[in-house]
């Protein structure tokens, strides 16, 4: 018994090199659009995550820290560092008109020497007033942090129950946070009592830049949200004018550099995707046109034995759709295999907040890339399909006979 013949499949397998080239091209198009989309989406997600994690509209730091790059290095780049200002400045800032939510943080950087398990940024927050870190930590750890308990960022190689030592003080890992794609993924969070104990120990071991530091009398950073009826601008200006030795910074302004870099990377990615697609579509269009032209006589024969115009167009379109589906799946798989396992490397290379979208978004992006691959293949072949459906078989088969 003879098997049923699928003409599109037979045409594709009959020309394996041409088919492989077309599938590879479609795969490349899908790869660029999916990998590019995931990267752009991850950068945007990273920026949103950073904005959410900063959690306050205004940061007030000692004036010398604004040598701004130092602050930015710590908050945005994930470098370690610390700076301090007197508690009295906190009281002055808190007393200013327009200040709504306010909370202080203490910073400390652990050392890479034997006294510390890992060199990380340690951030001490005040659970009673904090409004930025506590809501986030609550997702991973529902209870208040006990003294000498720490919560670690997602990128740190430590797990719940582990003990990390900082300046000779053993701290228990109470929780590990979800990934944020920001510098906070490599930080450690703890309460005021614990960070003060760590600062004291670092001073005692002469490993702190501030040798006469009393952690009970200092803060590193003050986080503020304006009260209702006051704008961020008003509160920032008021603090900068009336409180000496400090600098109030809009957090949005601090991350504006990142926004600009992200916008630049996004633009370049979009331009690259557009260039690859333009080239790919032209090549696909030419390839389908040439492929159909060289088989004009075969299509005329199909008309002779009873194919309708629609059936001829369907053969061309089904060939293109098969190429689109196979190339799309291959390209999408390749994009996921490149971007997902190597997202940390991409983050490091870009030096920007980078957070992979949720699984649902990834699936949606993948499905969209596949649909685009199939659609582009269909469109590239549509002209050929139309032309072949219009061909006059009598003219093609007649050659130069009448």
């Amino acid at each position: 018994m003879a098997k049923k013949i699928s003409l599109p499949l037979r045409n594709l397998t009959g020309k394996p090199v041409r088919t492989a080239v077309l599938i590879s091209l479609t795969a490349l198009l899908t790869l660029t659009v999916l990998a590019g989309s995931i990267i752009v989406s991850s950068l945007r997600q990273g920026l949103h995550s950073l904005e959410a994690r900063l959690g306050a509209d205004i940061m007030v730091v000692p004036y010398e820290a604004t040598t701004k790059s130092r602050l930015e290095n710590i908050v945005l780049q994930g470098n370690t560092g610390y700076f301090y200002m007197e508690n009295a400045l906190y009281d002055k800032v808190a007393a200013r008109e327009g200040v709504g939510q306010i909370s202080a943080q203490l910073y400390l950087a652990s050392a890479s020497a034997g006294c510390c398990s890992v060199p990380v940024q340690i951030i001490g927050f005040d659970p009673e007033t904090d409004f930025t870190i506590t809501p986030w930590i609550k997702k991973s750890y529902g209870k208040p942090l006990a003294d000498l308990d720490i919560v670690v960022g997602n990128d740190l190689n430590a797990f719940v129950g582990d003990t990390l030592t900082f300046y000779g003080v053993d701290c228990r890992v109470a929780a590990k946070l979800d990934k944020t794609g920001t510098s906070f993924d490599t930080a450690v969070f703890t309460n005021q009592n614990t960070i003060k104990a760590l600062i004291r120990s670092s001073v005692d071991r002469k490993m702190n830049d501030f040798q006469k530091l009393d952690p009970d009398k200092v803060v590193s950073c003050i986080l503020i949200n304006p009260a209702d009826g006051y704008s961020v601008e008003e509160v920032v200006n008021d603090i900068n004018i009336h409180v000496k030795k400090v600098k109030a910074i809009r957090t949005k302004e601090m991350i504006s550099g990142i926004s600009e870099s992200l916008s630049g990377v996004s633009d370049i990615t979009v331009i690259l995707i557009a260039a690859v697609w333009l080239l790919g579509i032209v090549i696909l269009l030419l390839a389908f046109t040439m492929s159909v032209n060289e088989r004009k006589r075969e299509f005329a024969v199909l008309r002779v034995i009873g194919s309708s115009r629609g059936m001829l167009a369907s053969v061309v379109l089904r060939e293109a759709l098969t190429i689109g589906v196979i190339g799309g799946i291959a390209g999408a798989a390749l994009a996921l295999l490149i971007v997902l396992p190597f997202n940390s490397l991409i983050e490091t290379q870009l030096g920007l907040p980078f957070l992979l979208p949720a699984a649902g978004t990834l699936i949606a992006l993948t499905v969209a890339a596949l649909l685009i691959a199939v659609l582009v293949s269909a469109l590239a072949s549509a002209l050929s399909a139309y032309r072949i459906s219009r061909l006059d078989p009598a003219v093609i088969l007649r050659g130069d006979q009448t």
């Binding site: 018994m1 003879a2 194919s307």
Partner: protein
């Protein structure tokens, strides 16, 4: 089935840079009947219009005027899909030149008319035709491996696979030696004997001996002999 052409003509436009566009008639207004159970031979020189007439009869080339009736039904009044289906079911056409699909084997090429509309192929008939046309050993060969004569015989087997009521053959023996030419004409004669309406367009005089009816064509004008 009876195939009738009423006052059919075919006009083509010719582009000429110097003289502009002008037209000429490949087939002048013609009446023609292809009767059941007869083998009709249409002879004429190259360019006389005989292939154009055959294509109009086969539903492949819309006449500039006139009608083509298959058992009284106007073929060109049907939508393309229906006309194509009619061609698949009732017509066996042997076009000029090499017409095998390169990606299919000889057997698959022969059975192709069944595949178009998803019908169960008649493998026994294919075997019978391949034996009669002496291409039985080539069933799994691809067209690129065949000679011109073998390709021609493959096209003939494909045209006859569905035992069509109307057979339209355009120079069916062009690439064949005397022995195979005789075999093909015997096959076509047998088909006519079984009730088919057969038209053979050729410029070979040998065909005359098989003809029940003979026509000649010259400059688009058809004359019966």
């Amino acid at each position: 089935m009876k195939l009738l052409a009423e006052q059919v003509s075919k006009e083509f436009l010719r582009e000429n840079r110097a003289k502009g566009t002008n037209s000429f008639f490949a087939v002048q207004e013609t009446d023609f009947a292809l009767e059941e159970g007869t083998l009709t031979v249409l002879m004429g020189r190259s360019g006389s219009g005989k292939s154009t007439l055959l294509n109009m009869l086969g539903g492949l080339s819309i006449p500039s005027s006139g009608r083509v009736l298959l058992d009284g039904n106007d073929l060109y009044a049907l939508p393309d899909r229906e006309r194509s289906h009619q061609r698949n079911r009732h017509f066996g056409m042997i076009p000029q030149g090499q017409t095998a699909l390169q990606s299919l084997t000889v057997l698959e090429n022969i059975l192709l008319p069944y595949s178009l509309y998803g019908e169960e192929p008649d493998a026994d008939r294919a075997e019978e035709l391949m034996q009669l046309l002496d291409i039985g050993s080539l069933r799994d060969a691809k067209p690129a491996e065949l000679s011109g004569g073998e390709l021609r015989r493959t096209a003939i087997a494909r045209a006859l696979i569905r035992r069509p009521a109307v057979i339209l053959a355009d120079e069916p023996t062009g690439d064949l030696d005397d022995e195979n030419t005789a075999a093909v004409f015997r096959l076509l004669k047998n088909a006519a004997g079984a009730g088919a309406s057969v038209l053979v367009v050729t410029h070979e005089n040998d065909a005359m001996q098989y003809a029940d009816r003979l026509y000649r064509m010259h400059a688009g004008v058809l004359t019966a002999e």
